[in-house]
């Protein structure tokens, strides 16, 4: 008769390992759970309870100068859901100041999601590189503030006259009328439009300094600020109309990364807090 119990320790170890394995895999994996029906663009939606949150630490950006040796935001919590057609992300982080109206030397709070176009781990997680593009879904607090006219920033400003300023500058129509002296707007800079109805921007990059707004925009975002935090929800179809789309779909796994900027600490551009490696997004 086999003395089966002599092999018992190995069996126990093997069983324990097999049990832990899926847990280990899930520790850094963001699971996008499937829900049925529409996902509203609403950070307060009760449906977010169905998403398992993953909290990731944010690291200094010391890859491309100017560095951010000490990012203001230390961690970010990610949730994701999808309904087969659209995928949604909820990003949440602690920030006690609301920086949504950038003034002379202040910047907007912001966050971004980065996904490689091809699910290739050789794509650098720091903005991709030539022939290894990444897509960015970018939110800025200022894009939720409507038409940002000067009195919104400096209520006591006095000025006597503006050329073509007779329609004012607190409406999109007023900006169109006064376009001659709004150079960024006249140059079709996406940063300079009077309104940002999507609340977010979709961009492509192939390395530092190549960030470009794509001609077709499919992402939308909405944010809510509590006293101590921001919660931002992004929604985008898996296959954006006329867009560059990552290689993602229900049932697939892809790489994903995140960045956050605290406007209060003059964080912008490369001065950001980043998640230091590619994370895994598992779309159920």
């Amino acid at each position: 008769m086999k003395i089966w119990w002599k092999k018992l320790p190995q069996v126990i170890i093997l069983l324990a390992f097999l049990l832990i394995l899926p847990v280990l895999a899930l520790a850094d994996t963001i699971v996008s759970s499937k829900v049925s029906g529409d996902i509203p663009l609403d950070p307060a939606w009760k449906g977010w309870i169905n998403a398992k949150p993953v909290t990731l630490p944010l690291s200094p950006q010391k890859i491309a100068k100017p560095y951010n040796e000490n990012p203001s935001i230390k961690q970010i919590t990610i949730r994701s859901l999808h309904n087969g057609k659209n995928i949604a992300f909820a990003l949440e982080w602690k920030d006690s100041s609301k920086d949504s109206l950038p003034k002379e030397v202040s910047f907007s709070d912001a966050c971004a999601i980065q996904i490689p176009i091809k699910n290739d781990p050789a794509t650098p997680f720091y903005m991709g590189k030539t022939k290894k593009p990444v897509i960015l879904l970018h939110w800025k607090a200022v894009w939720g503030e409507g038409v940002v006219d000067v009195p919104k920033l400096y209520p006591n400003v006095q000025a006597d006259w503006y050329p073509n300023g007779d329609k004012g500058f607190n409406t999109a129509e007023g900006w169109k009328h006064g376009k001659r002296y709004l150079a960024g707007y006249a140059a079709d800079n996406p940063i300079s439009t009077p309104t940002h109805p999507n609340g977010a921007e979709e961009l492509l990059a192939e390395g530092f300094g190549t960030l470009t707004t794509t001609p077709n925009q499919n992402v939308k975002a909405k944010a809510v600020k509590t006293e101590n935090s921001w919660k931002v929800v992004f929604i985008r179809p898996f296959k954006g109309e006329g867009s560059y789309n990552p290689d993602w779909a229900p049932g697939k796994t892809t790489l994903i990364n995140f960045a956050v900027w605290d406007g209060n600490k003059q964080e912008r551009g490369s001065r950001k807090g980043i998640v230091k490696e590619w994370q895994t997004l598992q779309i159920q």
């Binding site: 560095y67 002379e104 202040s106 000067v150 920033l153 050329p163 006249a186 800079n189 300079s192």
Partner: protein
């Protein structure tokens, strides 16, 4: 970062792009002996370019009184602190340029001014270096002094703003070296604003991108000088197109004053950006503060200007008379006897002025109107 040669500091220094000079470089000479701080240049520029919404706080051209005026506040004091000890060995700068003052986490040493630093462009205007005390008399240099310093973007050969932009949204035109912010490419990071040692990049509050002096390039393309130069009622300014310092043309007005006679000097050459607005230093100001601002050439420039006043530099005198006499850019100038002649880039004569203003004496009694004249010259 590679190394480029900067003639103003007479040595190589780091810069993120290859050494390159445009065939012609837009450049200006301002005679600080004549600036009265009337701010007409400021109004000319503002009325033309920065009277839009979001541009209220911008002064692409500003005039600040030295020693106690600045726009933005203390910009040059902070630059001096940033660079640390600034010694020269003859014509060679021994200290750090902004490209060497970045420390470990920055490519370029710089700072973002505080919001309120932009709010008081007239602070210190007309303030003198000290107060007059009983018994003070006239001397040269003045015992207490002040001078007006008009400033625009220097359209540097090695712009710190261009070097700082992570998106290459700032470029230097190959036809005339004018430095511009690409309005469609800028995303408002303001790294340029942080890096510019002269603080001549501004942020548009509504378009949320950065803007700067455009060197009036639409006028330059027509062969005309910038609005600020043309508008100057004191005729202190001359805008031109200078060429490569290694083989400059002494008939070119800017080259003549900068390279041949070394009368016009760059502003804070120790910044390392090789600025292209050149100043004739004021005679009434003591040498030490001028050496800090204009470098080791300040003494020679003052001596040269004195010689002009003594009639010993007729060519310089002729050229100074051509300032403010035409809206066109002078490609060449010449002295012919008692006349100063200016030519455009193609060599066509465009202006002729006498070195001495002719005086006509009229009769004391105006017979036609049956009245005595109060003034006869």
């Amino acid at each position: 970062m590679g190394d480029v040669f900067n003639w103003q500091i007479n040595r190589k220094m780091p810069f993120p792009y290859k050494e390159h000079r445009p065939a012609k470089q837009a450049a200006w000479v301002f005679d600080l002996n004549k600036c009265i701080g009337c701010q007409t240049c400021t109004m000319a520029c503002k009325t033309t370019w920065t009277c839009g919404r979001g541009q209220e706080q911008m002064f692409w051209n500003n005039v600040e009184t030295k020693p106690y005026g600045f726009f933005p506040l203390a910009w040059d004091q902070k630059l001096m602190e940033l660079l640390g000890q600034q010694t020269w060995k003859g014509a060679t700068y021994q200290g750090k340029t902004v490209f060497e003052a970045g420390g470990t986490s920055e490519t370029i040493g710089g700072f973002l001014p505080d919001e309120e630093d932009w709010a008081h462009p007239n602070l210190g205007e007309d303030e003198t270096s000290g107060t007059a005390t009983a018994g003070m008399g006239f001397s040269l240099p003045h015992l207490i002094w002040m001078y007006h310093m008009p400033r625009i973007c220097n359209h540097c050969t090695y712009p710190a703003c261009l070097a700082a932009c992570p998106r290459k949204a700032i470029y230097k035109r190959s036809e005339d070296g004018i430095v511009l912010v690409d309005q469609s490419r800028c995303r408002g990071y303001r790294e340029c604003m942080r890096a510019c040692p002269y603080k001549k990049i501004f942020y548009n509050l509504v378009t949320k991108v950065s803007e700067k002096c455009i060197g009036c390039y639409p006028l330059v393309e027509e062969g005309d000088q910038s609005r600020c130069s043309e508008g100057c009622i004191g005729k202190i300014r001359l805008m031109g197109l200078k060429v490569n310092p290694e083989h400059y043309d002494p008939a070119n007005p800017i080259d003549f004053l900068v390279h041949e006679k070394k009368l016009a000097l760059p502003l804070y050459p120790q910044s390392g950006t090789e600025p292209n607005v050149y100043y004739i230093p004021p005679l009434h100001v003591p040498l030490a503060p001028l050496q800090q601002v204009f470098g080791p050439g300040a003494a020679h420039a003052q001596e040269t200007y004195k010689r002009v006043r003594e009639g010993k530099e007729p060519e310089i005198q002729a050229l100074l008379h051509l300032f403010g006499c035409t809206h066109q850019i002078l490609g060449k100038f010449q002295i012919q006897g008692e006349m100063a002649i200016g030519y455009d880039a193609s060599g066509k004569e465009i202006v002729k002025v006498p070195l001495r203003e002719p005086i006509h004496l009229r009769k004391r009694f105006d017979a036609e109107r049956d009245v005595a004249r109060l003034n006869i010259t």
